[in-house]
Symmetry: C2
Subunit: 336 residues, 2 copies
């Protein structure tokens, strides 16, 4: 049984916590949370032990009527792996504390790549993380891209990837950041950081990414323009995608025209929070012109990295192969 702790109970932490609880080979020891809000109440309702970073947090929680199991250092004594789900660039400030306690650590894609020994997308490079002390699950956009690009690269040889990413402006609950009537270049310069991040997982791919922020909250939408070494037919490409785990094809004939339908589908599916763990390729958009392929890809920013976090835990512990871990994770989360 792999004993797991989670530091941070935000968008990703909440989801990873529940996913850990669904694994037969893992036990969720507790989560670290700093604000005694409704999300803390919901954690209690799910019998998730609460920890705080330090004693001042503990007092705050106890004052608000919460049971607290201890501080971060107490949690670190009880776990084999800590999943750092703190905000971007905060994880690195905890790194030495994790390692000092002899605990292996999973970091998120909001950290710089050098926070961990390797960056990680399970179906692309699981083996590189096996037995390591630390691993970084790459960001949602990078995860979605890596799954699809790796599928094409494996099947047909990927010569070049050019991608335009329309990013949701904020997550649904980030009301303070607001939505504006504008498209914001994010950043103005080209390439965006996503290209470099894809290369932390798939180093040999020639990729340039451009990123825009648009006033939506549900999902990122990627426009992919790929050059392949081979000239497969459209059917070959659809077959390659449909045979790739964690990539799912959606069709306009079934009503999928954009992110709104994907979001609705996720909610209807009955998964927690309407989460979509798969990279969502719009099948009708897959278009071939000589050796080029064009397609649209939707990425549920809150959810797509959840299976990777679970696999990353297993990889660090070295107790399962990529195939075994991916299969177990998929089964537990309802990914078919």
């Amino acid at each position: 049984m792999i004993r797991v702790g989670i530091n941070g109970y935000g968008t990703i932490g909440r989801r990873v916590a529940e996913a850990v609880m669904k694994q037969n080979d893992m036990k969720l020891v507790g989560v670290v949370k700093n604000t005694p809000d409704y999300k803390a109440r919901l954690a209690v309702a799910k019998n998730i032990p609460l920890y705080c970073v330090d004693d001042s947090g503990v007092s705050k929680f106890r004052k608000a009527g919460f049971d607290v199991s201890g501080v971060l250092d107490d949690l670190l004594k009880e776990v084999d792996v800590i999943v750092d789900c703190t905000p971007g660039d905060v994880g690195k400030t905890y790194r030495e504390r994790y390692f000092g306690a002899g605990v292996r650590a999973v970091f998120q894609g909001g950290e710089e790549a050098d926070v961990a020994e390797t960056s990680f997308v399970a179906q692309c490079n699981y083996e590189r993380a096996v037995g390591r002390r630390s691993v970084r699950v790459v960001s949602c956009n990078t995860t979605g891209l890596c799954r699809v690009l790796n599928a094409f690269d494996t099947a047909f040889g990927l010569e070049r990837a050019r991608v335009v990413i329309a990013r949701r402006a904020v997550d649904p609950e980030e009301t303070s950041k607001g939505l504006i009537d504008a498209v914001v270049l994010d950043p103005v310069e080209i390439p965006s950081h996503h290209a470099e991040d894809v290369n932390t997982v798939l180093p040999h791919i020639d990729i340039v990414t451009m990123a825009l922020k648009v006033p939506t909250t549900h999902m990122h939408l990627h426009s992919l323009i790929l050059s392949l070494r081979q000239k497969p037919t459209r059917e070959d490409m659809l077959k390659a995608l449909s045979e790739t785990t964690r990539v799912k094809l959606f069709w306009r004939s079934e009503g999928f025209k954009g992110t709104a339908n994907l979001y609705e589908y996720g909610r209807e599916l009955g998964r927690p929070r309407g989460d979509i763990y798969e990279a969502c390729v719009i099948g009708d958009s897959v278009t071939v012109k000589d050796n080029e392929v064009f397609l649209y890809l939707g990425v549920h920013q809150e959810a797509i990295v959840v299976p990777e976090n679970i696999d990353a835990i297993r990889a660090l512990m070295g107790e399962a192969s990529a195939e075994q871990s991916i299969k177990a994770t998929n089964q537990s989360l309802g990914i078919v």
Copy 2:
């Protein structure tokens, strides 16, 4: 003096009417409008004679207290050129009426290409429209793309253009269509119609376009991925753009990060309605990688075709060269 009438007083018609009034060689005889609303009141305030399509429209206007100068057929008797600014695909239903009256006609990009003898972007193919009976000014996105693509093609040879267009969902006043928290593939299939439309003006260019609808009202935002025959430096490219009329460079160091700043700039400039007639290239985004160029392009959907409409009128009448017409139009509209 070229006598000009305008059929339709919506987003484009209003703007073309005022632009015509600013030309030394043109006289606005009147505009055809069908609803006696606040826009009709504003036309009256500008001393623009009002016409209706038919007698029932005239009664409606007179009942609402408007002076009406007559019906469309009356207007057609008084003009050399009619600029059709009716909604998309409506223009073609008037075509025979215009020609039957012996009037030359300018159509908009919402019509199919075969509505007119040729499609038109002044700085790309003015000569092709000279002396014709009809011309079609292409849509806003196509106009913006043609200006930029033609500049690169002329200077460096354009091998291939791949473009992702983030389209504003609706114009500012189209409240009934609404904005939604989603990115909509528009259409799901690739390429979007813009590629074919660019080829009506620049037939030899290998272009694929992909189009998304995003919940904004101000400007379209294009992500351009171009392959050139030559390998110019970034400076060469910026120079080519800065020397191209109706293309303007904007810089992040001066605060331009997306469409919101461009829109604000237009309003500050003091032009009517905050209109931006230029194709807006974000200079910082112009990025070179071997023989590829990447850049972002903003297109003010309401305004960019206004100068083309004016030049199209002159081209039909055959009374000015491209250079003369573009210069006169630019001067009258404050394009430097």
